[in-house]
């Protein structure tokens, strides 16, 4: 049985997760004359995975869809729907220590994607993408980078039982630029099928240099295979926040 977690890390034989975040944000935008990319709307992050080697190696595919109303320089808005990059990732997990139900796992992931995120002369698509990345708290910047092949290298170590888990991770996400990300999170099933998870993420952008993002999630487990969650991300470094439900189905 899975421990509460913020990340859509693959587990079991196969699974899928759809996470929706809605909110408003004004994240920094690399084109200085347009900064920031103020918008409101939502982002849908779709992930599916299957085990290649049970409990050891998975292959996942994920893609974000952004629906945003993007502010333009004279304060009007333009609606935009844009697909981010589609990414395939191989995930490796090994248990390095176990005592009763307590176990320590190490994970490693390598991902590469298709540069499906578009660009346009008015920079509306790119601002919508930056907004989508912001709503997710900077979780996967490579998915929102236009005109570039997304690359991902990640490693983490976790200590968990079936009731709780903690995890420390480091990621290098590369789109137009390489973004180092460091994460720490913890979660627990607190009352029967109800759990909570929370985490902090620090990532390094070109401008501003360092952004801290806080995540929180309230989870409800429905049977053995499905988990509903209400998630929120609040970054320090720009105005705005994202909140929304996610549904995870795992076999």
């Amino acid at each position: 049985m899975s421990s509460p977690t913020l990340a859509a890390e693959p587990d079991g034989r196969a699974g899928a997760e759809i996470a929706v975040r809605a909110g408003a944000a004004a994240p920094p935008f690399e084109e200085a004359t347009l900064s920031p990319a103020q918008a409101h709307g939502g982002v849908i992050l779709m992930t599916a995975w299957a085990a290649l080697i049970r409990d050891a190696l998975w292959l996942s595919v994920r893609a974000p869809l952004v629906l945003a109303s993007v502010q333009q320089p004279a304060s009007s808005y333009v609606d935009d729907v844009v697909l981010g990059n589609v990414e395939a990732t191989a995930h490796f997990r090994a248990t390095i220590w176990r005592h009763d139900t307590l176990r320590a796992d190490v994970r490693a992931s390598l991902g590469i994607g298709l540069p499906t995120a578009p660009d346009d002369p008015l920079r509306i698509d790119r601002r919508a993408l930056a907004f989508g990345d912001a709503l997710l708290g900077g979780r996967a910047p490579e998915l929102f980078a236009a005109r570039s092949i997304p690359l991902l290298a990640s490693t983490s170590v976790s200590l968990a039982t079936d009731r709780w888990s903690t995890r420390l991770g480091a990621t290098l996400a590369a789109g137009e630029h390489a973004v180092p990300i460091f994460e720490a999170e913890g979660g627990a099933w607190i009352v029967g099928p109800v759990g909570v998870a929370t985490g902090v993420r620090v990532f390094f952008l070109r401008e501003p240099d360092v952004v801290t993002s806080f995540d929180a999630s309230v989870l409800v487990r429905a049977g053995a295979h499905m988990t509903f969650a209400l998630e929120a991300s609040v970054p320090l470094g720009w105005a705005g926040a994202g909140v929304g439900p996610s549904m995870r189905l795992q076999f």
Partner: protein, 293 residues
């Protein structure tokens, strides 16, 4: 209210409402040059000498642009003339070009171009000046705080927000704006009505052309702030009907409340301005103060 809170409330408003008249359609590709020097405005850009046939003009009533100073020019293709059969909405010949240059605090920031590219289609572009003043470069995405001023350059799609509210598409070159119409009232009233015409009438008028898709501006109300070529100015009666003015009581008038503020939730005009026009507020307040109850 913090920026985060305002953004969150904006999301709520956007999700449950509303008259989304501030949402613009993304424009189609814009067939305009990438440099201002290629638009035939200047014969000698370094000497600031315009091309023969390009005529400078100044409207009687100016749009408030946060204190920016402006220069304007018009070019009509040789042998053509403006169709003035509708005196309130002149029809310009294909090939007409109009430029408006914005300077703020002595810095020449941008020059906008409107060009009539078809019988019923205009193309628009803003050009941001290079620091050395040698040329201006097209900025289809617009720019915030351009050239290190507080002036924002609109994106190409935003031109439609104001210009699309009038059949003529042209706002500052008309019978009223060229002084060919007697604006009713005493001089103070004329200034106020002219101010409303120039700053509000392109959206708040009853002859807005219909459009498909999202509209930048389409206030669904009977306000009409134009001065018409027949000398009529329906501003007072439509404003009274909509109860946006309280005759004799400017401080209780919604229109004064709106034009006296800037921000996400209370602002008029809603676009292209970040600073209150104190002179405009004074003009309108006086107009309402003198308005018979």
């Amino acid at each position: 209210m913090s920026t985060s809170t305002r953004l969150a409330v904006a999301l709520l408003v956007a999700s449950v409402s509303c008259k989304r008249y501030w949402v613009c359609d993304e424009p189609e590709s814009v067939p305009l040059p990438t440099r201002l020097s290629e638009t035939s405005l200047f014969a000698d850009i370094a000497a600031d000498r315009v091309t023969d046939g390009v005529v400078a003009y100044r409207p009687a009533y100016e749009l408030w642009s946060d204190g920016a100073t402006k220069r304007r020019w018009i070019f009509l293709p040789p042998g053509t003339e403006i169709d003035k059969s509708d005196p309130d909405d002149w029809s310009f010949p294909r090939g007409t070009k109009m430029w408006k240059e914005f300077s703020q605090n002595g810095v020449r920031v941008e020059t906008r171009l409107l060009e009539k590219v078809d019988d019923d289609a205009w193309a628009a572009m803003a050009y941001v000046w290079s620091p050395d003043g040698s040329d201006a470069i097209a900025a289809p995405a617009g720019a915030r705080d351009a050239r290190e001023t507080t002036h924002d350059v609109p994106a190409a799609g935003e031109c439609e927000a104001c210009h699309g509210g009038r059949k003529s598409y042209v706002l500052g070159y008309s019978a009223v704006q060229l002084g060919q119409v007697a604006v009713p009232g005493d001089p103070d009233d004329r200034d106020a009505l002219g101010y409303l015409h120039a700053n509000c009438g392109h959206c708040h008028n009853q002859t807005r052309p219909p459009r498909d898709g999202a509209r930048c501006f389409d206030p669904d109300n009977p306000l009409d702030f134009r001065v018409l070529a027949n000398g009529d100015a329906p501003a007072a009666r439509t404003a009274k009907a909509m109860q946006v003015v309280a005759p004799g009581a400017p401080s209780q008038s919604r229109i004064i409340d709106l034009v006296s503020h800037r921000g996400m939730f209370k602002q008029m005009p809603p676009l292209a301005t970040n600073e209150v026009d104190a002179n405009g507020v004074r003009l309108l307040s006086g107009w309402i103060q003198r308005m018979p109850q």
